[in-house]
Amino acid sequence: MTHDHDPDNELDPFAARVRALETILTEKGLIDPAAIDVIVDTYETKIGPRNGARVVAKAWSDPVYAEWLKRDATAAIESLSYSGRQGEHMQAVFNTEETHNLVVCTLCSCYPWSVLGLPPVWYKAPPYRSRAVIDPRGVLEEFGLTLPAQKKIRVWDSTAELRYLVVPMRPKGTDGWSEEHLADLVSRDAMIGTALAREPA
């Protein structure tokens, strides 16, 4: 859908405000509206959580890759051709039997775009940003995830330019699965830490 046919433009004052800003900048030759189309298409159709799911599936399948991912996530992820904006400095954190990892950005909306795409609204909104660091169990309950009482929780607040990818534990009953098949079990939320990997059906 192009912006010339947006159903909300006539109704929403904010839509008009964005349209005006784009018009002003275009008339002044400061932006190329076609560049906006390319950016939107990139993040709507090309860069998304399937990237991260492939990273996780490869780590599950290949111990050497998993070790590399642990040691130098930026290079290990770039080897799968996922790199660039908001993925320049990556750190992978691995869930274990003892510890569950959860990622947040309390100060803004830092998120690993190169492997997860654009963040969901809740990730950027005050309820999650305020509570993930003080009441992570309560937050996870709202995602339908109840962790055992003895499980340790590690919250990673992305306050600098490192971007975190959670590697969930591989579900049982998936021996011999292909990486493509395994990747189907890895949701965006599992790589933020608000879910576990899906169990095989």
Binding site: L21, G29, D32, I36, T106, P126, S130, R154, D157, A160
Partner: protein
């Protein structure tokens, strides 16, 4: 600054309310908002730290009642005015009225893929060796700067342990204000939940932040 963005540990915002199968955009204008923000940033007139500071400088009532793309656009208008690209008269008219400053560059469609692939790495060489090592106990500085900082209030004055020595990174507290990149070592510092939140804290919780060296003092 102790602004509306510094949300860790704040209360009263209600449940998280995740949306099942959430679309990337909830209105068509959000697509344009993303693209306008990125292409305008492509002029190279400001850095990521200045843009973050523009967002957190919205009045708290405005920040909390705006969606994230609304926050982006409001901050973008501030940046465009500050750097001479747009005037109040332009915005009031909804079209170009006044002349604009000359940008360093314009991001054209053909260059988008390469620019996104390159990203904006913020690691920089630092002349001095890292002051702290893995395992060192540190106390986070207690301060309340009026400008940009990336040390959240909940961590200030708290005792933690260095878990990782990262690279040298551009220092946001100066870079946001045009006072240079002044790169410093960045460390991952981990805190016990009980140290940060005190009485009633979840005993299984640890929280980490990534902190620039000048935020740290030896414990």
């Amino acid at each position: 600054m102790n602004g509306p963005q510094d949300l860790g540990g704040q209360m009263g915002f209600g449940p998280v309310a995740p949306e099942i199968d959430e679309p990337y955009f909830h209105a068509a204008w959000e697509r344009r908002a993303l693209g306008v923000t990125l292409t305008a940033g492509g002029m190279g007139a400001w850095n990521i730290d200045e843009s973050r500071h523009a967002r957190e400088s919205l009045h708290p009532a405005d920040y909390y009642s705006s969606s994230y793309y609304q926050i982006w656009i409001k901050a973008l208008e501030t940046l465009l005015k500050r750097h001479g690209f747009v005037t109040e008269r332009d915005l009031a008219a909804g079209k170009a009225v006044d002349a604009a400053a000359t940008p360093k560059r314009v991001l054209i469609a053909a260059d988008v893929a390469a620019v996104l692939a390159k990203g904006g790495p913020c690691d920089r060489p630092v002349d001095t060796p890292a002051r702290f090592r893995v395992g060192d106990r540190v106390r986070m500085k207690n301060f309340n700067p009026t400008g940009h900082t990336r040390l959240p209030r909940y961590a200030r004055g708290k005792m933690g342990t260095i878990e990782a020595v990262r690279d040298g990174f551009v220092f946001p507290d100066s870079n946001a204000h045009g006072r240079g990149e002044n790169p410093q070592w960045v460390y991952t510092v981990v805190f016990d939940g009980t140290e940060v939140w005190g009485e009633g804290a979840d005993p299984t919780l640890t929280v980490s932040i990534d902190a620039w060296e000048s935020y740290l003092e030896p414990a």
